[in-house]
Subunit: 258 residues, 2 copies
Amino acid sequence: MTTGTGSAERILGILELFSEDRLEWTAEEMIAALGYSRPTLYRYVKSLKELGFLAQNGSHGWTLGPRVVEMDFLMRKSDALLCQGQGLLRDLAALHPCTALLVRWYGNKLLCVASEVSTPNPRSSYPRGRPMPLARGAISRAILAHLPKKQMLEKIVENFDEMRGLGLGETYEQIADTLRGMRKGALIARGEVTDGVVGVAAPVFDASRAPVAVLCMTINRETLDDLTLARLAQSVQDAARRLTETLTEKRTDEPVAS
Amino acid sequence: MTTGTGSAERILGILELFSEDRLEWTAEEMIAALGYSRPTLYRYVKSLKELGFLAQNGSHGWTLGPRVVEMDFLMRKSDALLCQGQGLLRDLAALHPCTALLVRWYGNKLLCVASEVSTPNPRSSYPRGRPMPLARGAISRAILAHLPKKQMLEKIVENFDEMRGLGLGETYEQIADTLRGMRKGALIARGEVTDGVVGVAAPVFDASRAPVAVLCMTINRETLDDLTLARLAQSVQDAARRLTETLTEKRTDEPVAS
DNA sequence: AGCAAAAATCTCATTAGATGAGATTTCTGT
DNA sequence: ACAGAAATCTCATCTAATGAGATTTTTGCT
C-alpha cells in the first residue's frame, strides 16, 4: 500500500521539494513528484500550512511559509558558526576588495552562511542560504582535502566525472592523493566557479577535527599580484584557525538562550 | 499507546519547540516538553538531522539546522509580499528618520518580513523573522480592525485582558466597535510597544480582501509634529494600497521560477 | 586509562493510525 | 450558470508507529 517510508519522513519530503529551480509547486506537481496519493498529499499540505511551513500563492501554488522566516531568525541568533565567524568575515572583507564568504558543509551541499562584499563589482552572488556546487572551487577543495579517507572516497565517487574534468586525476586514488596533497596551506582556485575570479579558502574544523565550514575570499584576478595573494591566503588561514579555536573551546554548560 | 496525534504532525512538533526564548534543546528537554518516549524522540531527531532541519551543538544540544537557512533563501526569492514590498519600504524609510517595517500576519503572530532603518538611533529592533505581540501597537491594530467580525471576536477573546488594559473597551463588543471605528485612515499608536515611539501603520490586503500584512513606520516622537505625522500617515497608506494592488493583480499562469 | 552514569540505540509485540480507491463537495474560471 | 478542476471525505485494510525494557555507545571525571 505504501512505499515503506513512514509518515514522519514523508511529510518532510514535501519541504525537500523546494529549491532554487522550483520555488513554487502545485498540489498536482507534488503528487507527481513524490508519488503520494491525492488525499495523503493534501493531508500533509494542510498540516504544513497550519504550522506556517507552507503558504498558498494564488489559487493553486504553494511556496514555503512564514515559519521558515521565523526559524531563520532563530538560527541567526543560535548558530555558533555565524555568531563567531561574522566579525572575522568582516575583517577579511576589509583587507582587499572582494566577496568574503563563510560557507558550511552539510550533506552534499556547501551552503553560504554569511557574506561580506567589499568590491564595487562583485562577480558572483552568494547570499545567505544559497547552496553551491561541491566539486568545484577552493571552498569545495578546502573541505574535501581534509576529509577522512573513507568519506573523501565517497565524495570522489559521487563527483568523479567533474573532478576528473578539472584535472585532479584519472582514478579515485589519484584524485584522493591530489586532494590530500592540498592539505597544507590555503586552497587557491582560479576561475572554477566564476571566470576571472580567484578563490582563496581555508577550512574550519569542529571539536572532532572534522571540516565543517570554510572561510573564503573571492577576488577579481585583476586586482591581485602574487605577493598580495600570498598575504591574503595567510590571513584567510589565520581567520579560519581562530574560528576553529573558538568553536572547539569548552562550552559553558548552559544551552544557548536569548 | 500514543496521544492520538500522528507521526507527521509529531515530528513537526519538534521544530515548533524553537523560539527566541529557547534557541537550543537537549533530547531530555524535548522528551519532557513533548511527552514522547525516548526511542520515538530520538528517531524523529535523527530524521530531522539527516535532512538538515536540526544540527547538534556541542555534545547534547540541538539547534535548528542548515536546511532552515537554505529555505529562507528560497523564501526571499519567492515571497511576493517581500519582492513587491521591499522597494516601497525603502521609499518609506527615506521619507523621515524611522524604522520602516513590513510585517505579515500568520496564525497568532505578527512577523517582521523586512525592515529598513533610516534613523541613527533605532529604539527597537525587529529584524527579519522576529515575531511581535498581536495585541499591542499600530501594526496589530491595522490587522485587527479589518478582520471579518467572527475572526475579530476570536482574537479579542484570546487577547481580552491586554486589550482591555489598553483602554479599548470593557466588553468584547465594545472592543470590536472600537477596532471597527479605526478602519478609516492609518493606524497610529504611541508608545504601546516601545516608549517614546510612534507607530504609523496601514494594512495590506490579499486577493480575497483579507488583511495579510502591514506597512509601518516607527518614529521617535521627538522628531515629529502634527503636520509631518499626517503626511507620513498618508504615505504609509498610499504605499500599502499600492502593495495591495500589486498583490491582487492577476497572476501569470506560471508558477514562480528562478 | 578506567569507570560510572548518561545518552543513544535496539528489539519486538501490540495496535494505532496511515493509506488510497473511489465518492462527494467545493472552488475556479469562463 | 456551468463544467471541470481542485480539494475533501469515507472507510476497510494493513502498514508502520509505538514504547517498555534491554543493550550499546559516549561522555566527563579522576
